[in-house]
Amino acid sequence: MTTRRHITEIPDGLAAYIKEEHAAERDALHSVWNLCEDARPDYSLDADRKAGIRQHILAVVNRPADRPGIRHTLRLITVRGYAVAASLALLVAVSFNLAPDVYTVRAPVGSGSTISLDLPDGSTVTLAPGSVVSFSESFAQTRRRVTLKGEAFFDVSSSDIPFVVDTYNARITVRGTRFSVRAWADDIDATTDVRVDEGRVSVASRRSHDWDVLLSAGNEISVAGAGRDGAESTSADLRHAFNWIDGGYEYKNEPIGNVLADLKRQHNVLIEAPASIMFRPISIFNQVNISLEEVLGDISATVGIMYRPISGGFELYEK
């Protein structure tokens, strides 16, 4: 017999409800209620995960500047807000969850805002909502290397030490320049997209060591999952490529599903759409920050679909 922990008495409301039943039925239901003590869910909690979450959320609560271990490394975290107050800087998650000497900074989802981070070498990283950047405590001492999941704009200070950005499938190496990287591994037709605003950037595949591309200002490249086969370097009109930093956007031939994924990270809402819409490419841009509904309206008008509010968010559907 399973050891009984505690039997919760049948609730008064339920007892009153079944009072009308025949005595035998009533007793049977009481009996089943009691026997269910032997089926009490016994989900073994992952104590390490719980401890990790506790550490993570407390890192958010504790302002980085208040933490001695962080202060010397993260000199400044500011919100480049277009929809929120500066107090949201508190929401930037800074933790040590990769290894004891690795800092991880995650831009909050749903804040509708990018965050800017000053690195110890004077370089600046601007993160899109939901994006994560990690770097070692020894950053800038012997090397300058960060790992990126998501989308970021880098303004890298000049130095003899190369500045390296690793994504899930690409490595970008620079010395002093301005460029953006978009690398959401779960995007539809996922690629690492690099766009150079100023200077020169070397882009290589992390999965194939036999090629790299030198990219100059005004050029962009997409590194597909497998590397070179999908990599395309093109001279591009980048006038709107960095609109997202100030709340705008630009998508060129991008699956709508990827656009919606960005919107969900920015606004933390549900956005439903059938596969026929998710995989449809769209080219669209906007220089200024507009509301979620206005963006959905733009998308709908551009590709001839409709949208409507649903519980918890919005739904895109075919006309």
Binding site: L14, D38, R54, L270
Partner: protein, 191 residues
């Protein structure tokens, strides 16, 4: 979580409104396990339940200035877990329908139907029959039976009439009783 008084929750609400980290930490320590269990009731996935708990607690800090101490923080937290879990479930179903099928294959229970309904196997049977219930009935039953929420609290959480909650729980108990009866009848016919 049932053992925590509303007064304590109210105290934490006031603390959160004042950005008191100790209140936030105490709230996490006191409620995480129960909320994680509730996440599991809906998601049946340890990792996903942990993920949404992290999001819930981060969100709670984000909205702390809007928390009304006169309204139940306990109810708010259950509601947040429910919203995040259902949202997660919807997205998972849409994007990973096939993987979901592979991750949660329907476990055959035939091997157990041959067993007699002795005390040792009863708990396993009941667990399986509870898992088989329709999602909302299961959720109402688990919250009532194992988390001690009142029917009014469950009704508010699940956006149901209290009478509907009663119906769900009575149907759940009747279902369990019928399943037990079937095995007992089979046992009697077995020499």
């Amino acid at each position: 979580m049932r053992s925590i008084t509303e007064e304590q929750f109210r105290s934490w609400s006031l603390g959160l409104r004042n950005s008191d980290r100790r209140s936030y930490t105490a709230l996490f320590d006191a409620t995480y396990d129960a909320l994680h269990r509730y996440g599991m009731y809906i998601l049946q996935d340890q990792s996903a339940a942990s993920d949404i708990l992290q999001d819930v607690f981060l969100k709670l800090w984000q909205i702390r200035s809007n928390i009304d101490p006169e309204r139940s923080l306990r109810a708010l937290m259950y509601q947040m877990v429910r919203n995040y879990a259902l949202n997660h479930e919807r997205q998972r179903r849409r994007h990973f329908a096939e993987e979901l099928e592979a991750d949660h294959p329907s476990v055959g229970f035939d091997t157990m139907t041959d067993e007699r309904l002795d005390a040792d196997s009863l708990g396993k049977h009941l667990t399986h029959w509870i898992e088989e219930m329709p999602a909302r009935r299961r959720e109402a039953f688990l919250l009532s039976r194992y988390e001690g929420l009142t029917h009014e609290e469950i009704a508010a959480l699940m956006d149901l009439a209290p009478k509907t909650v009663n119906n769900h729980i009575v149907l759940a108990l009747q279902h369990l009783r019928q399943q037990m009866q079937e095995i007992e009848d089979r046992d009697e016919q077995t020499p």
